[in-house]
Amino acid sequence: MIRSSQDVGAGVFLIALAVIALWQGAGLATGTWSQMGPGMLPRTLAIITGLCGIALVVSALMSDGARLERWSLRGPILILGAAVAFGLTVRPLGLAAAGPIAIIISAFASAETRWGETLLFSLVMTGLCLGLFKYALGLPIPVAPWLIGY
């Protein structure tokens, strides 16, 4: 019955987005067209988003389209995990630790990565970044608060 699982997915995604926006904006006043309240546009746009989603689902039931591809887990988890790890460690541990952590975690998203090379590379790259961003450009990014105090 479903003739394009990709479009069904896309439609459901939009509908979910609309529902979330409507729920989050539920308490906002709508107002009138001449004196719009804060909720007017978010609500209108959320409804249009939802309608687009419904239209996509309906079209996916009526006509043939692409199938939804498999989602890989390794890439998203490791790459985005590396960014999250960076965000969580950059303040407490500083760039000297957050840099290698981000590089090493993300590197294993690729099957070609080798341990020794990655370890060495992460240290060299972090050193370069420290030199560039901290010392040459003077950005206020922490280096290693636990070791040298800033």
């Binding site: 989050q24 960076f86 965000g87 957050a98 950005l139």
Partner: protein
Amino acid sequence: MEDLLGNLALGFATAFSVQNLLLCFIGCLVGTLIGVLPGVGPIATIAMLLPLTFKVDPTGALIMLAGIYYGAQYGGSTTAILVNIPGEATSVVTTLDGHQMARQGRAGIALGTAAIASFFAGTVATVIIAALGAPLTKLALLFGPAEYFSLMLLGLAFAVVLARGSVLKAVSMIVVGLLLSTVGLDLETGEERLTFGLQDLSDGVDFAVLAMGIFGFAEILRNLESPETRDVVRGTIGRLLPSATDLKQCVGPVVRGTSIGGLLGILPGNGAVLGPFASYTLEKKLARDPSRFGRGAIEGVAGPESANNAGAQTAFIPLLTLGIPPNAVMALMVGAMTIHGVIPGPQVMTKSPTLFWGMIASMWIGNLMLLIINLPLIGLWVRLLKVPYRLMFPTILLFCCIGIYSINNNPADVLFTAFFGLAGYGLYKFDFEPAPMLLGFVLGKLLEEKFRQALVLSRGSFMTFVERPVSAGLLIIALLIMVVAVLPAIRKSREQAFQE
């Protein structure tokens, strides 16, 4: 005319200061470097390098960012020719004949032609911006909220037509972008909207965060999933300077490409991406022997390359005169301007003339620099292309993280970026194109502001948008464009154009 010359003189005086020349040079070099690296487009580059400009004055910062922007365009063409990978959307067309030329041992000539064509187009575009800047700014002062609203709507309509694939999906993306732009404090009442109670969202979603997640992170995820086969041209690059016969063949295509690209670039809604396609199609139609195209025709490099560069530069016009960013890169420029306390729009020219004209003059200088620095450095770029992706992507990721963190010194921004990276990966799987969403997001705030202002002025009557002639005209064009996009016959040819 005298005004124009005086203004340009002021601009060149500003741009020729040692500091600004150096910034322009660094911008061009870094931009080319990043443009050459596959998988990092100009949007992610500028977002990533925004912190580099924090320490310099606004003029210097914008000169450098502009340098990064057209440096990246240029670098994109280099990879298109040498590796058959377009560094970004606008150099797709260059792969067709450019890479063929490279395989025939004429890589150097293709690169040289691209550089010269780009330089010519850049020069003309600089003059166009300088000439149109002042009159368009005056026009902008006549624009009321209704006209602004209709013009932005026209821009969004263009973005729908220019997106590939389903029209419904493109429209959805724009609406989602608009919806995202409503996150944050309401501009009149100051109430929090759709913030999930998160403090970090009360100022809204940061554009750099969104762009970096959707384009930077999601791009890495896509590349990891379908590794590109890199067909680096082996052997020598050969002579760089085209011969007299080559040059003669290029004159027509370059002039035509420059005019098409320049015109399309002015349109809001990222018309610049259409330039190279239009130029290529035109040259193929005009050619005595169209079968040469796709087999290394030099016109197929010269025309699109000049269109590409002209469009990239005239895209500054809506931003500098009306304060409307026509594409995502220009939106980042808005971000950079705001960080430095400059509000884009018609007042830039009168309030900070050195910034306005200095930036315009630096564009020409930047193009000249690209011509001079790139040709000798091509050997270096080729070597860079051989860096394995397994080392490249962690580096890109680290730079993105540092860049995002440094914009507001806020670690939460990095987490939000990761979230949008996931969202971008989802969009890719659902076959949504992210570019229209970004444009919707970019225009959203201003669109809402003007929409509300217009309706307050008209006491809630929507007739105001059609009663005012300029606004009505813009809306009619927008409507026509949408009709054209939906008509089946034209849709088919549009798909063909994108497949070519």
